[in-house]
């Protein structure tokens, strides 16, 4: 398994209470499972504290950049040690 750094960018770091985690994963699906399993409950609690009741996914509300490149534009994703996976909130404004 590859050691991958998952970065929670900007507001995610406030919502999830973490900035970077290093995980052992081989595939994008495994990375997604890790994020939703370990941080989904934190996110849900935060949403409730803000008075929001709709269930939401961290992953679905993120743009995923692997070493700066959107994973949607990549044909296949194979992680290697030291890869950087940025979860950027799927919003823009300013």
């Amino acid at each position: 398994m590859a050691k991958v750094n998952i970065n929670f960018i900007g507001p995610w770091r406030i919502f999830l209470g973490a900035q970077t985690v290093t995980v052992n994963v081989n595939t994008i699906d495994e990375a997604r499972d890790y994020v939703e399993t370990h941080f989904g409950p934190v996110y849900e609690k935060k949403l409730k504290s803000m008075g929001a009741n709709k269930k939401q996914s961290i992953w679905d509300n993120s743009n995923i950049l692997l070493n700066g490149t959107n994973v949607k534009t990549l044909n296949a994703v194979t992680f290697k040690d030291g890869d950087k996976l940025d979860l950027v909130p799927k919003v823009a404004g300013g």
Partner: protein, 615 residues
């Protein structure tokens, strides 16, 4: 006439009179409010010969259609004028409380015309307006001006829109400021107000807005309130404000650095929204009736410039007065710079861009200390940036050069016009089109010049847009963006005219429900989108009337040089592909840039088609 009070205030500053005129009901029905309605009123009153700073150029301020109601996030109001900065169509809109209070005071808009011989301000209360002497206010900054007027009447709920010293000194990108840091920025509306010697407009009122079905409105608005509150975009903005975008901007290479010549500065994380929340933020405040509460109040307890309670800067300001000059800012200095800009009352984007361009020219060896009055503009020199800011506000020395903006600076120093990063004379906002190609098309085609708020493009490419618009989320470096940009421009022309904030995503049935309950119309979303297109095409036609042609729909060369490091990865937008597709969708003439007669007539504007000689 439901949804409106049915009257406009006309202040003739030359004559020293204020009179009420009936609202043009057809204009209101077709162009709704705020920048849409203001543009229609402006159209009849200016031409190519109008001097932007002369008495014949009107300044028109209008609340959004839904201002003053209990609808969520519908506080935005706007204005239009012939811009002294760009020389053609100029408009602006802002949030806060002024628009709602103007509606409460019984007016659907204000037209300022003529020129006063001495400083005045306008006081409006419950449907009655008067001109007052402002000699004692002239020279005061925008914060003090607002405080003094509220103090004079002993009423803290008076809403004041005012100018600061920058607009008094005719800085061409002077703002109108309200609720302290909220501005009608970009196009120099404040400068026009300063040329008329109008220091402020103060409004207060409790007049009930006539509504077709007030109970129905409240019911729909309550549901819409919940939708807005629970939206993902709302929650992000609630948590970190627009400064929350900084970290994302670094990832995408969206934040212009060292005047568009370097990857987005990683050091900008020190002033990000997340950093604000963790170290400085004490509370959030809101515009009228908004559940998002994206305005952040900070306490600065460390650094050179301490402040016990101050509103945090927005993303645009943090970048324009930061990375653009290569400044490695701490929060204390970032807040200080923002406060100075707001106090003087000038546009943070164009001023930051002008200062950034000065740094660029200095580092290129084009200008030296002889030109700058001794300032050493080496990248990252914060003290020099602060001094430049003061000089701009006073319109003095080298600051007078910067107060004219980047296009004039390029001309003054014999530089190619494409080195000044602007479109139609208006500087790019802090969203680099090399990070989002769609923004290149937006900047090249927006009526007032480079304008990130006239489209959702970067939001769409960022994965968030109104789901019912059905805009495809494609790769940010694709150049198949014409349809998406045109649709989102129409949508923003609509929401700006309604007064709806970009951060509030309201389901269409609820938006339509509120409008119909207020006005008594029987409109539908397709008709409203058509109104959005009508507003956009009108603003384009007005730009053309004032001299803009297809030759002006271009991007500056400096912003098309690839940057290989950072989040841009060497991409540049292909305007040669996007623009012809966009022209076809808009039905604009390839040679003149004018909207076609057929399109203008289909939107119910035969008189506009005739006026510009559309074919």
């Amino acid at each position: 006439m439901n949804g409106y009070h049915g009257k406009i205030l006309v202040a003739d500053l030359t004559e020293g009179t204020v009179t009420d005129e009936p609202l043009n009901e057809k204009y209101a029905r077709d162009f709704l409010g705020s920048t849409g309605l203001a543009a229609r009123y402006l159209y009849d009153r200016v031409d190519e010969k109008t001097d932007p700073l002369g008495p014949d150029n009107p300044l028109i301020l209008m609340p959004g259609l839904l201002n003053g109601t209990s609808g969520p996030s519908v506080s935005r109001w706007g204005g239009a004028t012939k811009s002294p900065y760009t020389g053609h169509y100029g408009d602006a809109n802002a949030g806060a409380w002024f628009g709602a209070e103007l509606k409460n005071a019984g007016y659907d808009g204000i037209i300022l015309k003529g020129k006063s011989a001495k400083p005045v301000y306008i006081y409006i209360k419950d449907g009655v307006a008067e001109l007052k002497d402002a000699s004692a206010l002239w020279g005061k900054d925008t914060y003090k001006t607002q405080e003094e007027i509220k103090k004079e009447y002993g009423d803290n709920r008076i809403q004041v829109a005012c100018i600061g010293p920058a607009s008094e000194n005719l800085v061409l990108y002077g703002n109108i400021m309200s609720e302290y840091g909220h501005c009608l920025g970009r196009a120099g509306l404040g400068c026009v107000m300063g040329s008329k010697k109008v220091k402020a407009i103060a409004v207060r009122g409790k007049m009930k807005l006539p509504m077709q079905d007030a109970e129905k409105f409240r019911e729909v608005a309550r549901t819409a309130m919940t939708e807005v509150k629970e939206g993902f975009l709302s929650m992000i903005m609630h948590e970190t404000g627009t400064a929350g975008w900084i970290d994302s901007a670094i990832s995408y290479g969206d934040g212009p650095t060292k005047y568009y010549t370097a990857p987005t500065m990683e050091e900008s994380t020190k002033i990000s929204g997340a950093e604000q929340v963790e170290k400085y933020q004490t509370e959030s405040t809101a515009c009228f009736g908004c559940p998002i509460r994206c305005r952040k109040v900070l306490q600065i307890k460390e650094g050179k410039y301490l402040n016990d309670r101050v509103e945090g800067p927005e993303y645009e300001t943090l970048m324009a007065w930061g990375a653009m000059m290569g400044l490695d800012l701490d929060m204390s200095t970032a807040v200080y710079l923002n406060e100075l800009c707001n106090g003087y009352g000038f546009d943070t984007i164009s001023s930051g861009a002008s200062a950034g361009y000065a740094f660029y020219l200095y580092n290129l060896g084009v200008i030296s200390e002889k030109d700058t009055g001794g300032l050493k503009l080496t990248w990252g020199n914060v003290d020099a940036a602060i001094e430049l800011l003061h000089l701009i506000g006073k319109n003095q020395g080298f600051g007078a050069v910067l107060a004219g903006g980047t296009k004039r600076m390029a001309q003054k120093y014999g530089r190619p016009v494409g080195e000044a990063v602007q479109s139609k004379g208006l500087d790019f906002p802090m969203h680099d089109p090399r990070a989002y190609h769609s923004m290149g098309l937006v900047y090249a085609t927006a009526p007032r010049g480079a304008d990130h708020n006239k489209s959702d493009a970067y939001q769409v490419d960022g994965g968030t847009s109104h789901p019912e618009l059905g805009l495809p989320v494609t790769d940010r470096w694709d150049d198949d963006k014409a349809e998406s940009v045109a649709t989102s421009q129409n949508f923003r022309a609509l929401t700006d005219s309604l007064g709806l904030c970009h951060f509030a995503i309201i389901p269409f049935n609820l938006l339509v429900g509120m409008i119909n309950a207020s006005t008594g119309w029987d409109t539908a979303m397709d008709q409203l989108m058509k109104a959005g297109e009508r507003v956009f095409q009108l603003q384009r036609a007005l730009s053309c009337k004032l001299g803009i042609t297809s030759k002006d729909d271009v991007l500056p060369e400096l912003a098309l040089r690839p940057i290989t490091g950072g989040g841009q990865e060497g991409h540049v937008p292909n305007l040669d592909k996007m623009l012809p597709e966009y022209y076809a969708i808009r039905d604009w003439n390839k040679a003149t840039g004018k909207p076609s007669k057929k399109r203008l007539e289909s939107l119910g504007m035969p008189e506009i088609a005739a006026s510009i000689g559309a074919q």
